[in-house]
Symmetry: C2
Subunit: 265 residues, 2 copies
Amino acid sequence: MNSIRNFLPFSFTKFPKFLIYLFIIYLIFPSVIINVVEGTEVYINYTYSGDTGPRFWHLLEGSSEICECGKNQSPIDLTSEDIKNLAPPPYPNFTDITDVEALNNGHTVECCSDDMSKINIKIEGKLYTLAQFHFHTPSEHRINGKYFDVEQHLVFENEDGINAVVSVLYDLSTKNSTFLDPIISNLPKICNETKKLDKVELLSLVHDLNSLSQTYSYSGSLTTPPCTEGVTWFVNVKPLNIGMQQLLELRQVTGFNSRYTQTRH
Amino acid sequence: MNSIRNFLPFSFTKFPKFLIYLFIIYLIFPSVIINVVEGTEVYINYTYSGDTGPRFWHLLEGSSEICECGKNQSPIDLTSEDIKNLAPPPYPNFTDITDVEALNNGHTVECCSDDMSKINIKIEGKLYTLAQFHFHTPSEHRINGKYFDVEQHLVFENEDGINAVVSVLYDLSTKNSTFLDPIISNLPKICNETKKLDKVELLSLVHDLNSLSQTYSYSGSLTTPPCTEGVTWFVNVKPLNIGMQQLLELRQVTGFNSRYTQTRH
């Protein structure tokens, strides 16, 4: 035993006791330590109800006052006037992606894949690469005060860390969404659970979108804390179809995860 | 002409000019006068989006600060813990009602009938009479962060003007709601439009509710301005069915008219 002690770069007897206690706490309650560590960096403990709900996001540790006092916050309620001025859809090079990981992060179901780095859009000469997509139920954006059942956000990022989001609305229909099928068949149901999806057919999604309409573009914010502004939004104003069973299964997992619409300035 | 002037209880020449101008304005913009008059009494010009949305209801003329600083505001997100403690459903004498008027009041579809005065519930010895019922899409109350497609509020009032609300949740299903059928077939689609319904089968509604479960009761508030507190709530925690086509037709009229859940104290 003595020889092992000499081999180690520190002495057990001199090893700070608080680190030993910390290690024991970690063994018993790993999530406590993880949340404390994440809280100082990126993790914000927000919800969609009560005193950590959207009304109070500006007060949360790691969040920002911009959630309360920002002048370009998202989502918004689009008017008939807005959707007179539509931009062309900005997705020329979408392809199907493989080896997708669907993560239940406690707020939504978020899908990632290394393949996503192949998919990008260009805004004012700058390249934005797809980072992930996720779902909100019911929709966050509204059109003339009407909401939709699901809103999918395809989140892009440029080399400066600035985001752009392509938003896809889905409305209840007798027709299922082919695109959503593999995702809804493999939903991670518990917080922090992940599921592997062999393939996600973004090509079929883009095909459906292109056949529908153009998009409403505006400068807004992330719809979750820290509500960072400078986000370029492309909202597809005509919804795609989602079947009843698909909707019930998706929102059984996502619950209510929609920020209320923000004041426009 | 002189003889007519003498017959009138006032002189045209002496008639206050501002009343004549007011009358002319009324002829041109009747809604302006109606809103001004109503604004001082009961009319509050609230919405569910932007700067007259739920976040700002406490600032609206005719509303109350209680919308912002009340300690017993509704709706709330019910937890598993809450719904362990259920009360018996409080509706013994419901009957079908006839000659119902369904009004689109710009916020919801509200159903009234003289017959409703026959329907009452007793809370702590006091009689509360049914005044009207109306609909919210999606639901205002949530259960463990999950929302439902529709929430119906049956609003009762006692002789002191204190309210109680029986809340009925509806969730998307392959089965239609028989109770909702005559209402959804006769929706007043435009603001201020009314439709006459020969009969509304409250008996069938109560039958469905009784067969389901008990209710969660708590002391809350109106979920619309002026957000008055002291309202006794009875929330039926198991949803009834609403068919897809029924839901689509109802929410095409009601849009998003759901206040965000409130902090619990």
